[in-house]
Homo-oligomer: 345 residues x 2
């Protein structure tokens, strides 16, 4: 197996303390791979980084319109949220509009991400439930698709349920590769996750970015997803989260989405580029740092916008007393690769 | 730079999803390196994995005896604890015996590791403080050393304070290499951390394991540290923590200590071996898995004892619904290397 390059380094004082290897692919709106760093042909489970693709059936199929889903609700269908009150209320609203309750969710219970939200639940005597699961918005969207299709929503998380078959078909069309049982795992929230090359996921996100290479109906749905996320970045993740911070600053210029195990995907509508990356070891800090650099270099930002991302491109490592003891930074080979991309400012 | 081998793989369904690279060194009581996997000569910040070495001045210098420290308190001086009530009480007791209060701690505040302990503090109206910092036992021990030496305890966390100079000297003697300013970083709790090769840390822990290669006073202090940890494994970490679980099962057969950024050290008194490992990317799950395998193979355990570690050597990955979706396992090259060690059963 080829060895992927070091993409991110973590320093402490005078030394590099830790190193993350990984791979990154960038595709343009013609479906060409314009940057391939490391092995971008090996199958990668995209996990939650493809939630924008998994939400496409909800929007293009008509369920979102039929149930009167707001842009905030559509954004939540693409989210890995913190389980903050507004996320929970929005997921409940989606379920209610589809005529369902949280009992139908098959994602399993999960405590909210933040201490203060866990404290509040405890003080209210409420056990963390399925509605607090970071994937509850995606699941509520999938349940709405089931109801709109007129099929029994129960079992919607199984690979052979009509909803998952539809999601898989849409992802195959977007990624341009078959998603097969021998590349299927079970995700943290129990739906199937299908592994495909980073090149294929980057190609799918180039379509998300540009609306090119798809029919008019899908192009409209992709534009709707992009604007929903751009207008409601808090719904995509929440307080203190990388996706929300980046999109809050950049508006419609970048649609970024994290996934577990060091995966990140992004659509940059300006230059019409799609990005997919995976850190070999699953490290989130490295995936975020590399995605920040890809955004700064390749999203078609102004020099000022790019410079304003420096806290994300090279975040400091602080200790318990608040002293800066090191930093997290993109390694030389990845930096050089990103600098070659035509979409940079 | 040499590329370290993959030491741990994380699977999901039919595929390896994530991969951790790293290096591991095992030294025997004659100071020979009996296994070197990956680059074991590059400097590594040992972080909290060398707390047993940092606690040596407390025991061998006479401070622990002078202040009447119990074995539980000596174990806490070697710990990265969860901030559970018994850890906090024990750290307070150490400070009181030295005539000090937690105001002297320079480790910075940190909330307890577990939700229920954070809830309890909040319900009691207490803000997480320095006494809850996972390093408060080590710091209380260092403060006791300062008091016993008759120097001003304030500033004890600085590299030029007599306590840190003593700690550094002891670590140099144990590791057999100079610890120099150009290899010095600041740790999470603000004391200096000195980088040295894994081979040197493994050699130091072979001395911890065997008491060989040191004078009689130090050998006695090392035996005291070993028995304190073996008798109080809960003090070394806490509920649900790898160090505590492993030592709880194995008693005096293994003295293991975790450090931040994927470092682990261990002393195996049976065969007189010392182990030091570092996962390149800092991943704790991989460091634990590799240390479990090193313990099962090299600690001189019975076949039954080794087999009983399988849940740590190859832990399952479960999702939010409780389904097993993959596992964490030692990769082939590391498995083969560990199987060559004379200390195995």
């Amino acid at each position: 197996m080829a060895v992927n390059p070091i993409v991110v380094e973590v320093t402490r004082g005078p030394l590099v303390e830790s190193r993350h290897r990984g791979a990154l692919s960038i595709a343009d709106s013609d479906g060409r791979i314009v940057l391939s760093l490391g092995d971008t042909t090996a199958p990668v489970f995209p996990r939650s980084a493809v939630k924008p693709l998994q939400a496409l059936p909800l929007v293009e199929g008509g369920a979102a319109r039929a149930f009167g889903f707001t842009d905030a609700e559509i954004a939540l269908a693409c989210s890995s949220h913190n389980g903050e009150p507004v996320h929970v209320e929005t997921a409940r609203s989606m379920l209610a509009k589809a005529g369902l309750t949280e009992d139908y969710l098959e994602c399993g219970p999960q405590p909210p991400a933040r201490d203060e939200d866990r404290f509040a639940l405890r003080e209210a005597g409420i056990a963390p439930g399925r509605i607090h699961n970071n994937c509850s918005g995606k699941h509520a969207g999938m349940l709405a698709v089931a109801c709109f299709m007129g099929v029994d929503p129960r079992g919607y998380s199984s690979a052979n349920h009509p909803v998952q078959q539809r999601v898989r078909q849409v992802m195959e069309e977007m990624a341009g590769v078959p998603l097969t049982a021998d590349h299927c795992g079970i995700d943290g929230c129990s739906i199937p996750t299908w592994a495909a090359p980073l090149d294929s996921w980057a190609g799918a996100f180039a379509k998300v970015a540009s609306g090119r290479g798809v029919d008019a109906g899908r192009a409209g749905a992709l534009a709707h997803l992009r604007s929903a996320a751009a207008n409601h970045p808090f719904m995509i993740a929440g307080t203190g989260r990388f996706c929300t911070i980046l999109m809050d600053r950049l508006g419609a210029s970048a649609f970024v989405k994290t996934g577990a195990e060091g995966v990140y995907c992004a659509a940059f509508p300006g230059p019409g580029l799609g990005v997919a990356l995976k850190v070999d070891d699953g490290g989130t800090r490295a995936a975020e740092c590399l995605m920040a650099a890809a955004t700064a270099e390749c999203a078609g930002l102004s020099a000022d916008q790019s410079a304003a991302l420096s806290d994300l491109v090279q975040p400091s490592v602080k200790n318990r007393v608040g002293i800066v003891v090191g930093d997290i930074r993109v390694a030389a080979e990845a930096r050089a690769g990103l600098a070659t991309i035509p979409g940079r400012p």
